[in-house]
């Protein structure tokens, strides 16, 4: 009884203390609320990278799990051995295959980010210039495909581009070509796939930058004798720059590591690092090598990832 009485008094005192500005005062409650998601993300997002790094320093072995031990110890004989294998990384830089794969991924990602920007800009501009219910509708039409399955959208392009698919049938019918074009399983199809799937990621930040633009600036430019193209490059584009950067980073990063699009739309010679990692893991079952590929890919992506974090920190719309 005295225990519960004591705790009741404590509760009341605590309540009095906490009454004021609860978000700043209670400590244990705050700690629990902040601690749970931090713990979850630490365990399932951050620690895994340490594990990947550790395994990238081991050697593939015929064992379960299929890699060598980094640390071995025997307490009785006061013996600890650390065996670090840099072989995976050396092999990555010696073998042209991996270097080519990284370069070709970056190239494909850069070009497709640029194409995405070209396709997205008029859409975002048209949405920003429209008003009321039309704007809501145009915006929804951009977001709608994003809510449907990504895999099925890629599949739709497979059907669309294949040898006896609609595009070829149409071009044959109107007589532009004599025999079907080979479009599926080429780099061309990969570009289309990336532009298609990541379009909303580009349109939305562009739209939110263009929406804020003051229309009178364009009128002023026109009054001062600027031509439409001049106004575009000297007024509109600079003002849309935050959106352009945010959109490009959001498309570029996942595009570098893309697996599904090159696997389904690309050809055997479409080299992308996401696919190399996948094959290393699922076909060669070389976990240490796959880990080394992942670590180097992360290093390549650290800069753009920091960029997006900073822009989020400043409260830019993404």
């Amino acid at each position: 009884m005295s225990m519960s009485l004591g705790s009741a008094v404590m509760d009341r005192m605590a309540a009095k203390l906490q009454k004021y500005n609860f978000v700043k005062k209670i400590n244990w409650g705050r700690a629990v609320v902040a601690g749970i998601p931090t713990f979850w993300l630490g365990l399932f997002f951050f620690v895994p990278f340490l594990v990947v790094f550790k395994i990238s320093l081991t050697e593939a072995a015929i064992a379960i799990p299929p890699y060598s031990e980094l640390l071995e110890w025997d307490l009785e004989e006061a013996y600890i051995s650390i065996k670090i294998n840099l072989g995976n990384y050396l092999f990555l830089f010696e073998d042209d295959f991996y270097l080519d794969a990284y370069l070709s991924s970056v190239k494909i990602a850069v070009l497709s980010t640029f194409f995405t920007l070209l396709v997205a800009f008029p859409i975002a501009y048209a949405i920003a210039k429209s008003d009321g219910s039309t704007r809501v509708l145009l915006l929804a039409l951009v977001i709608l495909p994003f809510w449907t399955s990504f895999l099925l959208r890629v599949y739709a392009w497979m059907e669309f581009l294949k040898k006896n698919g609609i595009v070829n049938e149409f071009l044959l019918t109107i007589g532009v070509i004599d025999e079907p074009l080979i479009m599926l399983q080429t780099d061309f199809a990969v570009y289309i796939g990336i532009v298609y799937t990541y379009l909303p990621f580009m349109v939305l930040p562009l739209y939110s930058a263009l929406e804020k633009m003051d229309g009178t600036l364009l009128e002023a430019a026109q009054d001062l004798g600027s031509k439409p193209t001049q106004s575009f490059f000297l007024v509109t584009l600079p003002l849309a720059m935050p959106g352009v950067i945010a959109g490009c980073v959001l498309v570029f990063i996942p595009a570098v590591g893309e697996f599904v699009i090159p696997a389904l739309l690309g050809g055997a010679d479409t080299l992308m690092i996401g696919r190399v990692l996948w094959d290393e893991f699922f076909l060669n079952r070389d976990w240490p090598m796959a880990s080394a590929v992942a670590i180097v890919m992360l290093v390549v992506l650290v800069l753009p990832i920091m960029l997006i974090r900073n822009s989020q920190g400043k409260g830019e719309a993404v």
């Binding site: 906490q18 009454k19 004021y20 978000v23 409650g29 705050r30 609320v33 902040a34 749970i36 998601p37 931090t38 979850w40 993300l41 630490g42 399932f44 997002f45 620690v47 895994p48 990278f49 594990v51 990947v52 008029p122 859409i123 009321g132 219910s133 809501v136 509708l137 929804a140 039409l141 977001i143 709608l144 495909p145 809510w147 895999l151 099925l152 599949y155 739709a156 392009w157 059907e159 669309f160 006896n164 609609i166 049938e169 298609y196 379009l199 026109q222 439409p228 996942p254 590591g257 697996f259 599904v260 996401g274 996948w278 699922f282 976990w287 796959a290 880990s291 992942a294 890919m297 989020q312």
Partner: protein
């Protein structure tokens, strides 16, 4: 200006055509009687009935729905906590770390997330014996982790755009932290939580790469089954499945737009008066 806006209409129109042409052709061909996609054999619901007789697809779909439901729910709880902490706790130790861990999963290539989680699960099993083997549980953990990040960002931006006076008023009137959150803050951020849940549900339902890494034998989710079928070749049932999924999403989005348009016209009318 006239020429410029015509240019804009044409390019934006082409953009929308690019977005919708493949989807519409997929929908139309899902009703094709012929197995050969080029040959139009007349309208038919044949592939829909075959889809519902395909036990592999149905089982995978049920598994995916179950995983998506649990992951989205867990992600909403954890993500709301993270979003709330980030926007309402003021500066605290480790805030930078938490905000970094919340935004990074959004852009992390899926192959890296998948590989790293699998290696973690294997290492944890070796050290603690948990999780024993891989399957539904490990997929749920993986999906919760990346969906959590989306929910946290949505909730955070909703809280940031909302002013704190209502919460302050409740505090002045003596609301305890718990009741303040559940009676004032939670109802205000409900739209963000609902859209976070729906987004998490679709992301989980759609994930191929991460699930392929962390699932075990006999735990194929719907995207895994579709991927292997699509790689093998002609798959008219997949057209039917895609059409059904698109229809569900379209109905949801059209409903939401209709609601928003009504609100928009209402606001315009009020402004006129």
């Amino acid at each position: 200006m006239q020429t410029k806006s015509r240019f804009l209409t044409v390019t934006a129109g082409l953009g929308y055509l690019f977005l919708y042409a493949p989807i519409f052709s997929l929908i139309i061909y899902s009703f094709n009687k012929s197995k050969l996609v080029t040959v139009w054999g007349g309208w038919s619901l044949k592939w829909y009935s075959e889809l519902f007789e395909n036990e592999q697809i149905i089982n995978a779909a049920l598994l995916s729905l179950k995983i998506a439901f649990i992951s989205a729910t867990l992600a909403v709880v954890l993500g709301t906590m993270a979003g709330f902490v980030l926007s309402r706790f003021g500066p605290f130790k480790g805030k930078m770390i938490l905000s970094g861990w919340v935004t990074a999963p959004l852009v992390m290539p899926e192959v890296i997330t998948g590989l790293s989680l699998l290696l973690l699960f294997v290492a944890m099993e070796g050290l603690f014996g948990w999780p024993s083997g891989r399957g539904t549980l490990t997929i749920i953990i993986a999906h919760t982790t990346f969906c959590l990040a989306y929910v946290a960002v949505i909730v955070q931006s909703r809280l940031a755009s909302m002013d704190e006076t209502l919460e302050e008023a409740a505090m002045d009137l003596g609301a305890k932290p718990g009741s303040l959150f559940f009676l004032v803050t939670l109802p205000l951020i409900m739209p963000a939580i609902i859209s976070g849940w729906l987004l998490s549900f679709t992301l989980s339902l759609d994930d191929l790469v991460i699930a392929s890494f962390v699932s075990g034998p006999g735990n194929s989710t719907l995207p895994m089954v579709i991927f292997s079928k699509v790689r093998l070749g002609v798959t008219p049932e997949v057209n039917a499945l895609a059409t059904l999924m698109i229809a569900v999403v379209a109905i949801g989005v059209i409903g939401a737009v209709y609601q928003m348009r009504r609100q928009a016209t209402l606001t315009v009318k009020l402004d006129d008066k």
